[in-house]
């Protein structure tokens, strides 16, 4: 992973984790604050419900007492006091009383529990109202919840009971108000809150569950089972909502209804969603900022380093004079200065080395030239001295000596000329004239050329192995120069195997290049010899000119190829030439 990427990942991770932490913290705080406010609102609403419930109860009691004091009820009571009461004229009395006293439910009930008149269900006259038969001091009893039977349903009612007695025969007034949507609508609800009243009047059915909000019905069922206040957060189609469920009991703790105070969590959800969105936004911005910062930092840090790396690569490629110009004023600039200093010293040392090598080469050339020239010069000197001595000491033999001496002189002069020619040839290496050359054919031709020499009887046996890669194919090269180079390598190998051995010629095609190997099993070279092997005029042989391998390297170099040598003393040497296909 690059430094830039690591920097990006690090900055992004830092920003994202920070934003996530802040978002989580803000969300938690918002949630706690919301729930606290919601709980306060719910408690306030529940208290408001209780107050309103109590107020309505008092109102019901007041109205029922007013109703009990009315003339109409007194007339009914007087009728009840008769020995044979006839209640039929009063069958519609309850409805009239309900209308005049603002009550929704009014029943006039005789002392034996027989309904005289019913406002909410006029047809119920003559039926029994068991409630009044229970022993109770109705005067002290306030309003209470009651299941009220209606023709087509049952309703939840807040009722009070009062009795009017004539001649010890009471007439009961059971009257009250419906506790339904109207009652709930009278509550002042804060925004986002709602109150739902669920009468539980039929054990098998639940009245009033809003369509699509069956979860509410489940909560009501739960309250019905536990008979305790519950708080639940429900997932509804309109969003999450927290409900406080309050059981409503009638006489003898009969569960008659459930009040649900719902607090919508829509605002909280919106707030959390907004926080999340902002978190994502800031995280995204952080990542983008990290990206910019990383690039900027990279521009500040990695780009000089990259330039340094490029400079190093250039130096590695041989451009030792490469310099890196960095003006960052920091350690990178110091590093660049050191680099420049290093390359400067390298160039200086190289030049010095080149100079040294050049001097060494000249010395070697001078030594070689002196050595080469000295050998023919000595016979020349001896021959000329012999001529002088023969002239002075034996003139009669002078002619014969002269003939012999001139022959020798001519021969040695020929040698001198040959030596000078070889040096002249090396100096005049022409540029390659490239054409399509089958490398395998070249190797085979060379093998054929040296085969007789290898099989010569006077020399130790050398086994020739030719390993041809059929894929080696054709390259663009100067065939004469390549032949000359190959011949030099083979001659070197033959020279190295004075006691016989194996000569291997191998071609190979590898990665857009053709390899040519010449290996022998001769005496091998030391590493020092290997290092100087291609230096002109350097030779390990007594009679070598030191130009053979220099010519080989020159040919390979002119073909944009490379030559290498592997050798171990006593085991042999392998020369490997790599030539580009194109």
């Amino acid at each position: 992973m690059s430094f830039r990427l690591r920097l990006l990942v690090f900055i992004s991770a830092a920003v994202v984790s920070t934003v996530a932490l802040v978002t989580w913290n803000a969300s938690s705080s918002a949630r706690r604050a919301f729930e606290s406010v919601s709980a306060q609102h719910t408690a306030s609403l529940v208290e408001q419900f209780r107050r309103e419930f109590a107020r309505r109860g008092e109102e019901v009691v007041r109205r029922v007492e007013g109703l009990a004091a009315s003339d109409a009820v007194q007339r009914v009571a007087v009728e009840a006091g008769r020995d044979q009461p006839d209640y039929s004229p009063y069958v519609n009395e309850a409805a009239a009383l309900a209308a005049t006293h603002g009550l929704e439910f009014v029943e006039l009930v005789a002392g034996d529990g027989t309904i005289i008149s019913s406002a909410q269900w006029p047809a119920r006259f003559g039926y029994r109202q068991e409630l009044v038969l229970q022993p109770q001091d109705w005067k002290a009893q306030g309003a209470f919840l009651k299941r009220e039977e209606l023709p087509s349903e049952a309703a939840l009612a807040l009722v009070a009971v009062r009795a009017v007695t004539v001649r010890d025969r009471p007439v009961f007034i059971v009257a009250g108000l419906r506790l339904g949507p109207g009652f709930v609508a009278s509550l002042v609800l804060p925004e986002g809150m709602r109150a739902l009243l669920f009468p539980i009047l039929d054990p098998s059915a639940l009245v009033g569950a809003p369509a699509g909000e069956e979860a509410i019905a489940s909560l009501v069922y739960e309250v019905r089972g536990t008979r305790q206040e519950l708080t639940r957060t429900l997932a509804l189609p309109g969003g999450e909502e927290t409900f406080q469920a309050i059981p409503l009991f009638g006489r003898e703790r009969t569960l008659l209804g459930v009040l649900l105070v719902g607090s919508s969590r829509k605002e909280l959800s919106a707030l959390l969603a907004r926080l999340r969105w902002e978190g994502f936004t800031f995280a995204g911005l952080g990542v983008a900022l990290g990206l910019v910062l990383s690039f900027w930092t990279a521009a500040r840090v990695t780009r000089p380093l990259e330039r340094l790396a490029a400079g190093a690569r250039a130096v590695a490629a041989g451009k030792w004079e490469t310099r890196v110009d960095i003006r960052s004023g920091d350690e990178i600039e110091q590093l660049a200065n050191v680099f420049n200093s290093m390359t400067g010293k390298l160039v200086e040392q190289r030049d010095r080395l080149v100079q040294t090598e050049r001097v060494a080469a000249w010395r070697e050339l001078a030594r070689r030239l002196a050595h080469e020239l000295k050998n023919p010069l000595f016979p020349l000197q001896i021959t000329v001295e012999n001529l002088q001595r023969a002239r002075e000491q034996a003139p009669e033999q002078f002619d014969e000596v002269f003939r012999e001496s001139t022959a020798t002189l001519l021969a040695e002069l020929g040698n001198l000329k040959a030596i000078i020619g070889r040096f002249s040839d090396f100096a005049k290496m022409p540029p390659p004239e490239k054409q399509a050359v089958g490398i395998n054919e070249l190797v085979r031709d060379a093998a054929r050329l040296f085969e007789p020499q290898l099989k010569a009887a006077q020399r130790p046996p050398i086994e020739l192995e030719v390993a041809i890669d059929p894929h080696a194919g054709v390259i663009q090269a100067d065939p004469d120069q390549l032949r000359r180079a190959l011949r030099n390598l083979i001659l070197n190998a033959l020279d190295a195997m004075e006691s016989g051995g194996r000569l291997t010629l191998r071609t190979r095609k590898m990665e857009g290049a053709v390899w040519l190997e010449v290996a022998d099993t001769g005496q091998g070279l030391t590493p020092e010899e290997c290092a100087r092997l291609f230096t002109p005029y350097y030779t390990t042989r007594r009679h070598g000119t030191g130009l053979g391998l220099a010519i080989v390297q020159s040919v390979v170099s002119d073909h944009r190829g490379r030559i290498g040598v592997e050798s171990q003393p006593g085991k042999g040497t392998t020369f490997r030439i790599e030539l580009p296909e194109v």
Binding site: P89, P151, S152
Partner: protein, 450 residues
Amino acid sequence: MLRTKYPRLAAISLAAASALFAATRPQYGGFLRLQVRAGADRINPAGTAAQQKLVPLVFDRLVELDERGKPRPALAVSWRTTDPRQRRWRFTLRPGVRFHNGAPLTARAAAAALQSAGLQAAAAGEELVVSYSGGISALLRELAGARCAIFLKGAAGAAGGSGPFRIEQWSASRGGRLLANEEHWAGRPFLDGIEIEVQGTPRDRLLDLELEKADLIELPASEVRRAAQRGLRVWSSAPVELLALKVGIDNALLREALGLSVDRDAIRNVLLQRQGETAASLLPNWLSGYAFLFAAVRDPARARELMSGNPRRQPIPLTYEAGDRLAQAVADRIALDARAARIPLQSAPSAAAGGAGVRLMRLPLASPEAGRALAQMAAALDLPMTGSPSTPQALYDAEAALLAGVQVIPVAWLPQTWAAGRRVRCASGRAVLSTGELRLAEVWLEQGSQ
């Protein structure tokens, strides 16, 4: 054979005799303001109960029933038969009678009117011949019915009568105005006319009567006691309207349970305020004479027992005519009684009768003749009735057969009741006959009260 001339003169004489003791004498003039429960598109002898209610004001019949329900001559002054089997009767028409359009009453016109009522009638010279197999008593009762009123078809197709009042204007929804027939054969009515108004709610009618915005109002039985308590004069007929359940349910056990669950006494004593009678028969006892043989049995325990082996959860509709408050109260009570017997009856108003379920119906007596009334009732209930019973036994058998399957459950008989204002006076003391028929020709208004 009966022959009575100048009935109006007799009435006036009676009134004059009464006047010796009365505070006022009969007086001519004034318009009587009459409020009725339901409107009618027209006053039609062959129409519905609402259309027939005012028929005697505009149309005459060959015979009328007196206060005791006895037939007496009207357009027919006498009747006789020469048929040994007494199946063809000759009616002599009152001479000098003219319809409201001035056309004279003829045997041909009377025959045409009776034919349209389903009777076999023909003109034989000046006399009208009616073929009838049920005996003269039944025939006279039938002829006294509103549907046998004599009318003359006008050029526009409207039926014109010869009754004490003629129609000046009429509106189906609001009522109308009748004017005194100056040429009526019984003499001009005391009233100059009648203003008829449709007033839907009994309380409003009662209030209008108390405030003297009305002189005579139609009153449901449930309000009779209240009206009486307020010192108003109430004129009630004999029970003339049957309140019955038409049970369109296939389950015979359920029908039986429903019949056993109905608390008729509670309905009669409380909802009807002790007016009318509990009913177990299709015809009232005053008409059939045997109604007491049908017992109204209430046995809720037995009804529950029947339903326990035959549970029913699907609600059964009990419908009644929308706007009829008495019917609503009765239906609600019946539904309550049925529910106590585990019959899921649910009352609801409905304009349309028939179909599945139970329908609470008002079945007015269509004829003072028992056989005709029973046949009409069977037709109204859509129950099959074979033959035309001519003897009490046959009539009883026919009625018993109609009741046998509990497809109809009689609940109560209702009287036709009217309440009169303070200025309304009647020569005979009451302007409503036992049949519920209004007889306003003998009514006058006390002067100075308006």
